[in-house]
Amino acid sequence: MSLIEIKGLKKSFGALDILRGVDLNLDAGMTAIIGRSGSGKSTLLRCLNGLERIDAGSIRIDRHQITPTQSDLKSLRADVGIVFQGYNLFPHMTVEKNITLAPMLVQGTPRAQAQDKALHVLSQVGLLEKAKAYPGQLSGGQQQRVAIARALALNPKVILFDEVTSALDPELTGEVLKVMESLSSEGMTQILVTHEMNFAKRAARTLVFMHQGKVWEHGPTAELFARPQTKELDSFLSSIV
């Protein structure tokens, strides 16, 4: 059984149909979702942790079920973390407080234990020395790594990455991608919407190509890059240098 099963997923904003029936099974490991702007990649990702209510179909992630009428978002979010393009750290809290907030409030973790965990996840992203800093004192790349650490602190089974390097210059992009690769080698399941084709090619086990609100092609990364089956994927890949 796949870790994630999406069936007939539809989502529209007003008259605009963004997802027009997505069927997709995903296994553990890293999956990259690629496609043109407006193809529904980010919306799909946001549906996966309940940020967007779905109009039709169903999503199952591990033991969590999302349908248009019911979903237990609280338990879902304990298992599915998300990292955003804009980091979205809490600017009025130290890095450590950003990370310990949810474990303490949501999971009832005692402070000392939450702080230990914070230091552990900060060392995972290579920012142990920034625990007492405020987000505003960090570079974009560092803030994004803190955001990853914040998601990790809840011990999720899956982390979603929504264009997490789009706001960063190439050097800072590199440091964030390195963190994601090392998480991958530790066995963390990651689903990313990305425009970093080289990174997707190198690090993602599975590739999903979205087009016009549907999964157009989907399979092992190397295979899709080498032999695109549709002319849409072919032209998308050749349009990217």
Binding site: I82, N88, L105, V106, Y134, G136, R150
Partner: protein, 216 residues
């Protein structure tokens, strides 16, 4: 027969300033409680809450506070309710202050990017936890200066309560002036007293702003 402006008059003014302070404090308290209620209704009260807030704010902001005083003091007594002036002042200033403070605070909450709510939501925080931990502390910083600015206005506007018979600072000044015919001395003294009441508010605001800025 006139007498000159002296210590007894000054004491009379200072005593009258008690009412200025009292009405102001009641307005602050009513404004803060009502303002918080407006925020909660608007942000989590659904369509009904939004409608209540719209009417509340329209009445509180759209009617001059002078007319609100008339309404609650004379209007209600015409209907057969005898309203003590202080109660009418408290209700009128409570309505006026809550509508304005509510709008200031809602604006501050609105100014916090939606992504901050989302980040809290995706970490599993409840709405109240998002509000309490993430949004309110950031909105507080934004709201501080305009809130204190409005509080200073309240202090000055309490002079309007003289129309319903409360002898507060400004009205007391008129009384003293009528007896002494020394308007410059009398009103200068009044200005100094108003300044002494308002200046600490500005200091408080500056102090708080500095303290909240330490975090950045």
């Amino acid at each position: 027969m006139t007498r000159s402006f002296g210590w007894p008059d000054l004491l009379f003014l200072i005593e009258a300033a008690r009412w200025t302070v009292l009405v102001s404090l009641v307005a602050f308290a009513g404004g803060a409680l009502g303002g918080a209620l407006i925020c909660i209704l608007k942000l989590s009260g659904g369509r009904l809450g939004g409608a209540v807030v719209r009417v509340w704010v329209q009445l509180g902001q759209g009617i001059p506070v002078l007319m609100q005083l008339f309404l609650f003091y004379f209007g209600l007594s015409i209907l057969g309710f005898s309203v003590p002036p202080l109660l009418a002042a408290a209700v009128a200033f409570g309505l006026y202050a809550s509508a304005n403070i509510g709008v200031i605070w809602l604006g501050a909450v609105d100014a916090i990017p939606k992504q901050q709510w989302e980040a809290g939501e995706t970490l599993g925080l409840s709405w109240a936890q998002q509000m309490r931990q993430v949004i309110a502390p950031q909105a507080l910083r934004l709201a501080l200066a305009p809130t204190v600015g409005f509080m200073v206005q309240i202090v000055k506007n309490t002079s309007l309560t003289s129309v319903i018979g409360i002898v507060e600072l400004a009205r007391a000044g008129q009384v003293v002036n009528n007896a002494t015919y020394q308007p410059f001395s009398v009103f200068f003294a009044i200005c100094v007293i108003y300044f002494i009441l308002c200046f600490p508010l500005s200091l408080l605001s500056r102090g708080l702003e500095r303290r909240l800025h330490v975090a950045h």
